[in-house]
């Protein structure tokens, strides 16, 4: 058996038992487990090949690339091989832009209706359940000048390396906090790229808080890896610590990185600045689908509310992997497997006893994989000044070019949350749909109001969560009642026995 590749919207079936969104470790595992249990599964993913961002490009990667990226990257192959051997349907380069309860014109509502775009055409299909494995994105890093060409995320440089064998040339500075910062620095140095400086913005107070979890961390897989990386990076490049402020400068493109640290300010000439301060769940699809979420202070982000079987507040929707709160690649694969088993149980393919029996060893491995996470969360929690910009000229919403100063100046109008702010300033209304400003806007408002971000809330995210061409939407089949609601009448086909009438 092997997966069935779906290449056009018309190749999609009318219905599937299960939709999985995202082909990273969580989505691949969820889809594989569910398909092995006998469910008809559709896996939709935006990229051209499976693996998500963490295993991006691995099916096409050369031996040299794999060697360069190490065995954590190569681990993705087993997950992909397992998925490709199932009977699931796989739609690469497909965007899922809507998930809503299916409410037929007659009969009872059941399952979900899903809007998918593929190869320039849109389709509405029905599924009984959905697992959202939309992964994570890099947390916004709003510093003055961060919109200049020449400033990219650390993750983007890794993607360029994984998919195209590209490494930075010219003067390169890597700045921020989080495990990926040093991993990327080590990978780039290993690939022969020059890294002029690593600017570490980890707040000093974090080390003390993280210490409480250091025993678990030392015993975890992360511990040894982390120590090796630090040693390697320190040997080959300059590391600047005790950083208080960061700024990018240049005319039309980046020319220097201005670093203020204890002891002074330095202007580092640079052609490329790679920013990173951790990853946060990619929430747009779960929010637009109505899944409840809450503020997670340890990870300084909103995370969806899910139970031990990945079930959300919406009856037919589950969330697996980093999309449900950051748990890393290994944890995500195991989490996805649990979500797949739960789907098979809910759709009658696994008994409760069988589900629990299969889940037990997976849960044990998940506990091991998550060991050390608390330490990482505490150590790499980005400082307030790097999450909540203090300088008024800092752009917060990149699409609509709304600054921190404008947001703060609008507060006296009585703004309670991001949706009112959006109405005043258009922040969050551009094509990225708030992905690069949502958390920042929430936290600025919370700071100004002196309340917790959870009380301020997040943007109301609505479908379509990805831009869809109007002609794609217009070409969707419409029900008679929908046409009547808009046009006021339904044109009947002309025939002898049914003369054309207007209702």
């Amino acid at each position: 058996m092997s997966v069935h590749h779906v290449n056009t919207a018309s190749d999609l079936q009318e219905t599937y038992d299960l939709l999985v969104v995202g082909a990273g470790p969580a989505g691949l595992s969820a889809a594989a487990v569910a398909a092995e249990c006998g469910l008809s599964v559709l896996l939709c993913d935006e990229n051209g090949s499976p693996g998500g961002q963490i295993y991006r490009g691995i099916t096409e990667a050369s031996a040299a690339t794999k060697a360069r990226l190490g065995k954590d990257y190569a681990a993705g192959e087993a997950i992909i091989t397992r998925f490709l051997a199932t009977s699931a349907c796989y739609a690469a380069r497909a965007s899922v832009w809507s998930i809503a309860p299916y409410e037929p014109e007659v009969g009872e509502a059941s399952g979900l209706e899903v809007g998918v775009s593929l190869a320039g055409a849109a389709r509405l299909i029905r599924v009984r359940r959905a697992i959202l494995a939309t992964g994570a994105l890099e947390r916004p890093f709003p510093i003055p000048g961060w919109t200049l060409p020449g400033i990219m995320t650390a993750g983007s440089a890794q993607i360029a390396l994984k998919t195209a064998g590209l490494v930075p040339s010219g003067r390169t500075v890597i700045a921020g906090t989080g495990p990926l910062l040093y991993l990327l620095a080590a990978q780039l140095i290993g690939a022969g790229a020059s890294v002029n400086a690593v600017v570490d913005t980890t707040p000093n107070g974090n080390r003390r808080r993280a210490l409480a979890h250091s025993f678990d961390f030392a015993r975890s897989a992360y511990g040894l890896k982390g120590a090796r990386l630090l040693a390697q990076v320190h040997r080959y490049t300059r590391v600047i610590r005790n950083v208080m402020a960061l700024e990018a400068a240049g005319d039309g493109r980046l020319s220097e990185v201005v670093v203020t640290y204890r002891g002074g300010t330095e202007r580092l000439p640079a052609d490329l600045l790679l920013l990173h301060q951790g990853i946060v769940p990619n929430l747009n699809l779960s929010l637009a689908s109505g899944c409840a979420s809450g503020w997670n202070d340890r990870q300084a982000t909103f995370t969806p509310t899910i139970d031990e079987w990945c079930q959300t507040s919406v009856p037919d929707i589950a969330i697996a992997g980093d999309a449900g709160g950051i748990i890393g690649a290994e944890g995500s694969a195991l989490h996805g497997a649990l979500a797949g088993m739960a789907a098979a149980w809910r759709l009658g393919r696994l008994s409760e006893a069988e589900r629990d029996k299969r889940a037990a060893p997976v849960r044990a491995r998940l506990r091991m994989a998550l060991r050390g996470r608390l330490f990482l969360d505490e150590l790499f929690r980005p400082g307030d000044d790097f999450r909540i910009p203090t300088r008024p000229e800092t752009i917060v919403c990149r699409c609509e070019e709304v600054t921190a100063g404008a947001i703060r100046a609008t507060m006296p109008l009585g703004v309670r949350g991001p949706n009112q702010m959006k109405a005043y300033l258009r922040c969050g209304m551009g094509p990225c749909q708030g992905r690069l400003c949502g958390l920042t806007v929430t936290e600025i408002i919370a700071q100004e109001r002196g309340v917790a971000p959870g009380e301020v809330g997040y943007y109301n995210v609505r479908t379509p969560i990805k831009p869809v061409a109007l002609k794609e939407l217009a070409a969707l089949p419409q029900s008679d009642s929908a046409i009547k609601a808009v046009a006021g009448f339904v044109e009947k086909p002309v025939s002898a026995s049914h003369p054309r009438t207007q209702e």
Partner: protein, 102 residues
């Protein structure tokens, strides 16, 4: 800003950017191909006209919007380069031919 590692294997693909012929490696995204060719500005913003280039390379930031074969608002980081592709800087908001004459 970026260079290709010598051990990266891939057939060559030719395309144009603002009319200039460039080479890419088969399988590249349009964004990777442009970065490898030394292009840093992909578009100007509709709000202030400021220059922008790719930021996330994974489809979430929409900073890499370009015009491809006459169609605007294409995400360069999610589109695979193809032989003969005509890629152009997107100036401000994308415009579409409506086919309606005044």
């Amino acid at each position: 800003m970026f260079r290709r590692l010598p051990d990266h294997k891939g057939d060559l693909v030719t395309f144009t950017f603002d009319g200039t012929p460039l080479m890419a490696s088969k399988g590249d995204t349009v964004a990777a191909a442009l970065l490898a060719a030394g292009v840093t500005r992909f578009r100007t913003t509709p709000v202030s006209g400021a220059d922008r280039g790719p930021y996330c390379m994974m489809g979430v930031c929409f900073e890499c919007l370009v015009t491809i074969d006459g169609r605007g608002n294409r995400q360069a980081c999610l589109t695979t380069i193809e032989e003969g592709m005509r890629v152009e800087t997107q100036h401000g908001a994308a415009t579409y031919p409506t086919g309606i004459s005044a």
